[in-house]
Subunit: 523 residues, 2 copies
């Protein structure tokens, strides 16, 4: 299989780079040809499935090796695409935006450098997965909880750097980040925050250090290679009580969000609680063919049957209470009272679920930070296995929620897919994440998906809604919607890019940011 | 009075700049000679009180005027020193690091652009003070609380940008910042986060937008001029109960901090609670001469008399409970139980304070976000009026607290000053802020202070403690302590500085960051 070469790089140059990389990391940690296959996008969305193929990959074991690789890449102008573990398959996995890039795979750097129960933090390398950190904490019997996203095999660091979210009170992962070690494109190593003080004892305790707070520029960017990161962990609370509330009508989402907002702002709902649509939940424990054998989205009658069979609603709210019983009792009373305003709302603790108890039990694990992969059962909903996320952010109002729902579900169903969406109110904003499950081997379906996605981005932007993260294939498209004042923010980001990565070797095209020499045709 | 000229700028060039500034902002908003006096450091710490004198000041009324001023400053290479309101008198007020800089005074830009009760935020210009925003909220009867630092006349934006802290659950001011408008040195206007999307409806709701999260680089820096900023405001809680706990012995600080840390991590103590030393509290309502007429720090006998007269301890912890009574009752029971382990601890609600009730009443206001200036009564403690803050960050352990206390109080007393310190546990870190009150008109005292300060910085750094903010006079000194790996972080900051401010016109020397042409002799 002929792999793409990076633009402007000859096969000879690439081979020279790989030879030099082998001298640093050893023969077995440079991958090319068939061996680089695992770095392909597992679920390509484009018509042309070659457009984001890596040429090779290199997997260093240490910060020093990362420095040496960066220096070689600078010498030879080899584009590197940096991934922590590359396991976010809904957004491109380990595949680069720029075809022919060499993946700098940090998954071998998987040391858990420190976990402090006293202060509640971990210092990890990029390759540490949620499973790794969870197992470590269990083995040592530390009274700490993680906050996990759905893919438990993902990188703790990578998720935070990509502004990922979870389901406990520590759900804003980048917000819980404290202190970084970064290898700059030119090979120097920087430590941020208190880490810039030799002998500091507060690197993972205080974010800001002295002077500009720079950590954020290494998130969703290509300005440096993060090799260590602190993440704050929640002390095990003195009590935990997960619950589920179901709502029977699709239009209930409007009232649900109006109820959730003040409860979130007042910290009555303490965690990253989510409101999930019928099919997203149903797909955890059933398949489409059990209910509908036709083409296109399931009809209303099938939806009703699913609701009846499993005691779930058109929308299902999963939340949890954290604290000692007097506190959680008070919070629950306020929560229950507020949601009781919605006709037909049903309230469940785990022991109340006679039908399909797993739907809450599964969430009950996630909301206490147990990493899992269960959520990805939804891939079996209609076979074909591909999935991609569409993730606009909007104000947390009922009006926006129902408008978002109608816009997105309308387009998704029109394109022949089922609507599988969740709404998560972080603090003041609503993340509306829609997963589109498609047949990745069907070129026509990929084309339809691509058109659908671009339509949704355009229509969302016209209403002032922007995506907070995206698949590699749409990074330019999304970045183009953040164009206020003649792309002033992008122009500033390009200046920082050129200053910190003068040869433009790191993750070309990440978040729409291209190095100078590849900026020509780009928006 | 001859004012200093900026290095390399002639009187003619400066006059040309001021003439052009006048055309933009009007004659009455450019200040020079005697009229620039209010921009001097109100409490100079140096031997030479001229070393941080501005040459002039210009006060624009709008973002557009800021853009035009930046362009002129670029043309003529005039160094600008940017202040929001310049009211943080413990750290230099409006005075520049670089003598001869023209102060870019943003205090006229004082519009409150929006306050949302629904979402809990304000969008403000740099000149908006805590008093302004508080009055606005009271007038409109909005159910929102501010989080305020001690100087109520300070800028809401300026305090957040300087990583200031307050006393409610929203005490991390930069953490509560959401969305900025920034005029770059070269005159372009950038909006960050969701503000980069034209027509966005979530600028103050979601921090990260798409791509790198850049807001942090405009804090404690000289990379741009922030002209608008969103700040999150707490919804009025359904209950509020301030309290005070006194501890009789200086060594109690060790146990107090060991008790506070887990309570903070577990969110039992919900707010930016502080542990204040005897003299800091006593200075709010008494003067030194009432207790001691000698030279140097007060003796132990005077300390005991103050404690007896006012029912306060050697350390006094002020906290508050926020929420409905069942929640606050549970939190109080846990708090009281924990502190009861300390022999001689006394517990007070406001109604329990027979002697000196003001000490808690004053804090009770601050802890519910009412801006005040009462705290600065401490200036009257021993006359002379000068004060400066020394603010190292350390881990929140008893061991570090007592070590910090002994190091700092020892040096302070040795130099002839009273120890007036507070310890605030933000989340995982301890801010130890010591205010040194000195006679600013006594050159010898200024010299002693300067030597003391430099000694404390050096000794703290040797133990791994770094300052989180500082007076303009010590910015290079503090920055020098963050020198890990051959000053790697500073070198990176300099690259960003050069990229975003190529002519080096903005706030030379801020946080130790100098423009290229002035970097020569600097560490």
């Amino acid at each position: 299989m002929a792999e793409a070469l990076p633009a402007g790089i000859s096969a000879r140059q690439l081979n020279e780079a790989l030879t030099r990389f082998r001298k640093i990391v050893g023969d077995s940690w440079v991958f090319s040809g068939e061996k680089a296959r695992s770095y392909h996008d597992p679920y390509p969305v484009a018509d042309d499935t070659q457009s984001h193929r890596a040429s090779a990959a290199v997997a260093p074991a240490s910060t020093e090796e990362v420095q040496q690789i960066a220096k070689i890449a600078n010498d030879l102008r080899i584009p590197l695409w940096v991934v922590s573990r590359g396991k976010n398959f809904a957004y491109g996995g380990a595949a680069p935006v720029l075809a022919g890039s060499v993946v700098l795979d940090l998954s071998r750097m998987n040391r858990i450098l420190e976990v402090s129960e006293k202060f509640g933090y971990a210092l990890v390398e990029p390759g540490v997965s949620y499973f790794d950190l969870y197992n470590y904490i269990q083995e040592k019997k530390l009274k700490l909880w993680l906050d996990v996203p759905d893919p438990g095999w993902g990188s703790v660091m990578g998720n935070a750097l990509d502004h990922g979210v979870g389901y406990t009170p520590y759900g804003d992962h980048f917000g819980m980040q404290c202190g970084m070690e970064v290898v700059l494109a030119t090979g120097e190593v920087v430590r941020t925050g208190m880490g810039a003080m030799p002998g500091s004892n507060a690197w993972q305790l205080f974010k800001y250090g002295f002077g500009p707070y720079v950590d954020g520029i290494f998130s969703q960017s290509n300005f440096g290679i993060v090799t260590k990161m602190g993440i704050w962990l929640m002390p095990e609370p003195p009590g935990y009580r997960p619950y589920m509330i179901t709502f029977p009508r699709e239009e209930d989402i409007e009232q649900v969000v109006e109820i959730v907002r003040p409860l979130k702002l007042g910290n009555v709902i303490q965690n990253g609680a989510t409101i999930r649509s019928l099919v997203l939940d149903a797909a955890i424990f059933s398949t489409k063919s059990q209910y509908f054998s036709g083409k296109g989205p399931i009809p209303d009658s099938a939806a009703r049957q699913i609701m009846a069979d499993h005691d779930i609603g058109m929308w299902n709210f999963c939340g949890a209470l954290y604290g000692p019983p007097p506190v959680t009792d008070a919070l629950w009373a306020a929560t229950r009272d507020a949601f009781s305003a919605i006709p037909g709302a049903k309230f469940y603790f785990p022991e109340d679920r006679r039908k399909s108890p797993d739907i809450l039990l599964h969430r009950a694990e996630t909301m206490r930070g147990v990493p899992k992969l269960t959520e990805f059962n939804f891939l079996n909903w209609n076979g074909g296995g591909g999935h991609v996320g569409f993730s606009p952010v909007s104000p947390s109002t009922g009006e926006d929620a129902i408008k978002q729902y109608r816009m997105v579900s309308g387009r998704v169903r029109e394109a022949g897919f089922d609507y599988m969406g969740l709404m998560a109110i972080g603090f003041k904003e609503l993340h509306h994440v829609t997963v589109i499950v498609y047949d990745q081997n069907d070129r026509d379906e990929r084309r339809r998906l691509d058109e659908l996605f671009r339509t949704m981005v355009r229509e969302a932007a016209a209403e002032g809604y922007g995506e907070y993260r995206t698949h590699i294939h749409y990074m330019d498209t999304i970045a183009g919607t953040y164009g206020w004042n003649d792309n002033a923010l992008m122009k500033m980001n390009q200046k920082i890019k050129d200053a910190l990565d003068p040869n433009g070797i790191l993750s070309a095209g990440k978040s729409g940011i291209w190095p100078r020499h590849l900026r020509g045709g780009k928006p």
